[in-house]
């Protein structure tokens, strides 16, 4: 089954063609340089850029896959979770494509997309497993019971982990996006230089909180001349605090559910420190750990197409009145609007 995926939930305009688990094309028009000037993502700017880019991106997905419109069997689009103005553009385009090509349409939750970014990269990932999906927009622990069967175990109570990276990067004058800037500086720093909190590290809930950690860093160094700040040590200590919390919560969750594997997805899962620490900690616990291909960590449409294909296989599809819902909960298949 050939599925066209479309994803515009935040600041990437993306389209992809995926055929039965094989990625034929994965096109992403990133707006990151545009938003860097503002020090963060400006929703109105993102929405406008999506309208400009969407047609070119879809065409490129067909061209680089060597496929034509008539070969598509279904359209999958991120319709839930993200910036409303951004989601609307992808859903508009997807609905128009599905109607024009007379093929089924399926709306996908952005988090389900990230869960499938790993399944697409590592089809052998055992089920059930626990997935940590972590980016600038979310930090969520999900028990993936079967394909498209989820239990959300934990969520961030305030900032997403990637958002904390962005804010600390801004505070330290390192620019946007913060993840790569902090990671690269941290390689030259001492990660034990500063004693930073591990928020909710000992709590029994699976929720996260990064706002207090950010405030600790700011309080420790505010008012000081930037030239005198030990930037690499701050970056390394901060990054380690975030990684420690992510690793410990995810392992707790895996132990609690008795699963044999975890997957780490989303933009922050590119971070090398995070990958190393997860691999080491999971090794000690006898857990398998999986990460998506690097190009599937950040937002992309291949993961959306893969999630769509899975749902369609179970007979689910959306109607042409599909709407964009920015804060929709992650739902298992067959559970739309019901508590399963």
């Amino acid at each position: 089954m050939l599925v066209l995926g479309i994803e515009t939930s935040c600041d990437e305009t993306a389209a992809a063609l995926v055929a039965d688990g094989t990625i034929l094309s994965n096109v992403i028009a990133s707006q990151i340089d545009l938003h860097a000037r503002f020090g963060g993502i400006v929703p109105e700017v993102a929405s406008r850029k999506h309208v400009e880019a969407i047609g070119y991106v879809i065409q490129e997905a067909f061209d680089s896959a060597g496929k034509t419109h008539t070969e598509v069997d279904a359209i999958a689009v991120t319709s839930k979770y993200g910036l409303i103005g951004s989601l609307i553009v992808g859903v508009s385009a997807a609905k128009a494509m599905a109607y024009a090509l007379k093929v089924p349409l399926i709306g996908i939750h952005h988090i389900e997309g990230h869960i499938f970014a790993n399944i697409l990269s590592n089809p052998g990932t055992p089920l059930p497993h626990v997935c940590l999906t972590v980016s600038g927009g979310h930090t969520m622990l999900v028990h993936v019971k079967e394909l498209c069967q989820y239990e959300v175990m934990g969520n961030t109570l305030d900032d997403a982990a990637g958002e904390a990276f962005d804010k600390i990067s801004k505070f330290l004058g390192l620019g946007f996006p913060g993840g790569p800037a902090i990671e690269s500086l941290a390689t030259q720093g001492n990660r034990a230089a500063f004693n930073l909190p591990r928020p909710l590290g000992r709590s029994r809930s699976f929720d996260f909180s990064f706002s207090g950690l950010k405030t600790s860093v700011v309080n420790m160094f505010k008012g000081r001349d930037r030239e005198t700040l030990p930037l690499p040590d701050i970056a390394a200590s901060f990054q380690q605090a975030v990684v420690d919390v992510l690793v410990s919560k995810t392992l707790q969750a895996a132990l609690h559910k008795g699963v044999s594997a975890v997957s780490i997805t989303g933009g922050v899962s590119i971070n090398s420190r995070l990958r190393e620490d997860f691999s080491a900690a999971c090794g000690r616990q006898g857990l398998q750990v999986f990460f998506p291909r690097r190009d599937l960590c950040t937002d992309n449409a291949a993961m959306v197409a893969a999630a769509g294909a899975a749902r369609l296989k179970y007979g689910e599809m959306s109607q042409l009145d599909l709407n964009a819902i920015p804060n929709a909960p992650l739902e298992s298949i067959g559970c739309a609007g019901k508590h399963c």
Partner: protein, 234 residues
């Protein structure tokens, strides 16, 4: 030429189908927050009423604004993606001209209004020139007072905001101001009709690069621009 016209600039969203200069069918709905939800089913409804499939039309026309930014993104994205998917030409049409067109037989200055939020309106002046409308000057975005200050002759105010601000307009302009019917608004058929001369002249738009006419920017953009200008001036 059979053209499907879509306009989502206003609170009333509208889709229509024409065959040459004959209006086949027109459909409108009050779109508070459901432009996206209803646009494809409404398109389907209009095509079915007209007895056509999407593949059987000859082109699309879409109101590009000015108007609701979110509404325009839905209308423009849907229209250009439909055009792309079935490989038909597309024309972007001024949503203000589509309102003014209803009063094209009037001999005075036409002043269509579209709500711009925060007690502001989008507007432009048009004058009938034979069968077509000619725009005079630039687009306007701002409050009613700023608009009425530009009016020095008898003018016909059109569109729903004209009635909302009727008292303020009359207060400033007295007898110079007259008003269209409270029901006058854009229509999908009119947007389609306005595209006919453009298609005939070979002046269709590129479906990939077509974007709404926003006539404004986000607060963040405005602030950044001011900061950059200040930095340059120093």
């Amino acid at each position: 030429m059979r053209v499907l016209g879509i306009d989502t600039a206003n609170l009333t969203n509208t889709i229509g189908l024409i065959d040459g200069d004959r209006m086949v069918t027109d459909f409108a709905w009050e779109a508070r927050d459901n432009s996206l939800q209803r646009i494809i089913i409404s398109t389907d409804l209009v095509l079915k009423r007209g007895g056509l499939t999407l593949a059987e039309i000859d082109g699309l026309a879409v109101g590009i604004g000015p108007g609701s930014w979110t509404g325009l993104r839905v209308g423009v994205t849907v229209a250009k993606t439909l055009a792309y998917a079935v490989n038909k030409p597309i024309c972007g049409i001024s949503s203000l001209e589509a309102i003014a067109y209803q009063a094209r037989s009037a001999s005075i200055l036409l002043c269509p209004l579209v709500d711009a939020g925060r007690e502001n309106v989008y507007s432009a002046f048009y004058r009938a020139r034979g069968k077509t409308l000619a725009m005079e000057g630039d687009y306007y975005v701002g409050n009613i007072k700023g608009l009425t200050e530009r009016v020095k002759e008898p003018a016909l105010f059109l569109g729903k905001p004209a009635h909302l601000y009727r008292r303020a307009i009359t207060g400033e302009l007295g007898d110079l101001a007259s008003f269209g019917s409270p029901s006058d608004t854009s229509s999908g058929c009119v947007v389609a009709l306005l595209s006919l001369p453009r298609f005939a002249a070979g002046a269709a738009d590129d479906a990939f690069s077509l974007v709404p006419l926003y006539l404004g920017e986000s607060l963040a953009q405005a602030l950044l621009r001011r900061k950059e200008t200040e930095a340059r001036d120093e």
